[in-house]
């Protein structure tokens, strides 16, 4: 973007790659001998390392959550609306850590990385990663950074699932879990949408059973379709109506099947852009991690029972028009927390933007987010 950076921006940021040379055992039974995580951090860790916040990203997210990588960058990081000096996740008080998850395609070890055993990209051989695996790798990251306990672990959507998993797997290592626009498990409908996305990718002729890198090609068409269907589930009927309505690109119908409606060309554009920048195997893996997430499963489906080990306080937020993970899904989680006698606060925020609302700073969302984290900051002396 800009000639000068906004004063509430974290400014120019640069990622660092952190190598982990200890093997990590994964839920699927496989072990990765070593892995890299790419990380951005904002703000300063205080002397007693009590002011750290971990940001967990969603399906297509990555480590670049705030600020600008170059002065030429058009848009800031994906959660810049909420991270920065004076913003809800206030970088003048907190040390904020944002990573690209294991299995990702933005620099952390994933399917497009070189498999040291073969000297070739992992491709489809990369193990299927679960939310619990991510949390395990994030705990290694915390060790590396000298963070014994997070002031808060924060995430929206799939990121919220990681925050929840943290509270179960490392109960003493976080004070607060902020779970936004998330769910304790996917519904059949959610899984069905993921399956359509995966089918779109795997049925692309350029997919080559996940070995497209060997063929020096990309399953662009499949990824584009996957993104298009995904994107629809992130928006609401009302917000799509508001943005596009039935607007045509030209004045009259052309009685053909090209993109005539604005919404069609928007989706195609989004899909195409995504297909150039995202790895298909990572997309498969991320959607599978979503499908498998179900912390209640091991407790016979009883989420309250599964929550027993949690020690942190929870903030759960949902958005009124989110039909991907509806407020009812958040309430399911909240009710289990109440039953398990955990400390939990909950609000349903009125916002027209569907699931994407967690990325958009509506006044009530910002107020709650700010008030809650202000209290967390006071609690940890930040």
């Amino acid at each position: 973007m800009p000639d000068s950076l906004p004063s509430d921006s974290v400014g120019l940021v640069s990622p660092q790659t952190i190598p982990f040379d200890e093997p990590i055992a994964l839920a699927c039974g496989q072990t990765l001998e070593r892995f890299d995580l790419v990380v951005e951090t904002y703000g300063t860790l205080n002397p007693d390392a009590s002011n750290a916040i971990l940001i967990c990203h969603a399906l297509s997210g990555h480590h670049h959550a705030a600020g600008y990588r170059t002065m030429e960058e058009r848009k800031p990081g994906w959660w810049d609306s909420c991270i920065g000096p004076g913003k809800p996740i206030d970088t003048s008080r907190f040390f904020v850590v944002s990573l690209n998850n294991l299995g990702g395609c933005h620099g952390s070890t994933g399917p497009s990385s070189i498999n040291p055993a073969t000297g070739k990209p992992y491709g489809p051989e990369f193990p299927v990663i679960t939310v619990a695996d991510w949390v395990k790798s994030q705990a290694r990251l915390a060790d590396h950074l000298g963070i014994e306990q997070w002031a808060a672990v924060v995430g929206g959507s799939l990121g919220g699932m990681q925050a929840l998993q943290w509270s179960l797997d490392y109960p003493e290592r976080l004070r607060h879990a902020l779970i936004i626009a998330s769910t304790p498990r996917l519904s059949a409908q959610n899984i069905a949408f993921n399956e359509v996305a995966r089918q779109a990718i795997t049925s692309d002729r350029e997919f080559h059973d996940g070995r497209y890198q060997d063929f020096e090609t990309l399953p662009r068409r499949g990824l584009m379709l996957a993104r298009m269907v995904g994107h629809i589930t992130y928006l609401s009927d009302a917000s799509m109506g508001e943005k596009f309505g039935r607007e045509l690109r030209e004045e009259a119908y052309k009685f053909g099947f090209d993109a005539e409606f604005q919404v069609e060309s928007y989706l195609r554009y989004q899909g195409e852009r995504f297909s150039e920048s995202f790895d298909a195997n990572t997309y498969l893996l991320m959607t599978r991690a979503l499908d498998y997430f179900d912390p209640a499963y091991a407790a016979g489906g009883d989420l309250a029972k599964a929550l027993a080990p949690a020690q942190c306080e929870f903030l759960v937020l949902s958005f009124s028009t989110d039909w991907r993970f509806t407020p009812a899904r958040s309430e399911e989680m909240v009710n289990a927390m109440i039953q398990a006698r955990k400390k939990v606060s909950y609000a349903e925020i009125d916002a027209p933007w569907g699931h994407d609302a967690f990325l958009i700073p509506t006044p009530r969302y910002t107020d709650i987010f700010t008030a809650y984290l202000d209290r967390v900051a006071r609690e940890v002396g930040a």
Partner: protein, 201 residues
């Protein structure tokens, strides 16, 4: 501290698990947490109040008693269920009271007395709906849609097999007064009831 809150906190035991229905900005729960080591939740629907609660470390759930009830709470999971100055604002106070004593061992309820002499006097003299410090609204915009008198409330408790363990009566400034103790339904403005199931210990 407000005398009604002073009375309520005496009825909450250290470490009690408390549910506060219509917890407002969380003043009472905050106090109970800090002074009595209580734990628990507030339910609230006002967005600003909810934000304030979150900012002060009071666990608050956005939940509408009228539409959602308390179905998400298990039987007997709270020691005390509080409802201060909100009974008159719910659609079915009778059901709310029953639910309070389902999820809690004990209930503490406060509400304004519609039989206070000033309200009676105002209605008699002016022929207009009464207003007071405890009930400062117009008839058309009042959130208080289920006004009752102390006698009405006590009749409802009898009918439902609810035992009144204690009753304290205060005036509009929440002050104790001997006159209100003498003749509560006429001279008391706000009552604080401590209730439980008849068969409870």
């Amino acid at each position: 501290m407000r005398p009604d809150l002073e009375i309520i906190q005496q009825w909450v035991q250290p470490g009690d698990h408390v549910l506060d229905l219509g917890c407002g900005n969380g003043t009472l729960l905050d106090f109970l947490q800090r002074e009595r080591g209580a734990t628990g939740f507030g339910l609230e629907i006002n967005p600003d109040h909810i934000t304030t609660c979150m900012g002060r470390g009071v666990s608050v759930i956005e939940q509408n008693l009228d539409t959602q009830g308390l179905v998400n709470f298990d039987d007997g999971m709270f020691d005390v269920v509080l409802m201060t100055q909100a009974l008159q604002a719910v659609r079915r106070p009778d059901k709310v009271i029953e639910e309070m004593l389902r999820v809690g061992r004990e209930g503490i309820v406060t509400f304004p007395n519609f039989a206070h002499w000033r309200l009676r006097w105002g209605l008699t003299l002016s022929g207009r709906m009464p207003e007071s410090e405890a009930l400062p609204y117009k008839w058309y915009n009042t959130p208080n849609i289920r006004l009752c008198t102390f006698k009405d409330f006590e009749a409802l408790c009898r009918q439902k097999g609810i035992r009144i363990k204690s009753r304290r009566v205060v005036d509009g400034q929440h002050q104790n007064s001997w006159l209100a103790r003498l003749w509560p339904n006429l001279l008391g403005e706000i009552a604080i009831y401590r209730i439980t199931r008849e068969n409870a210990k």
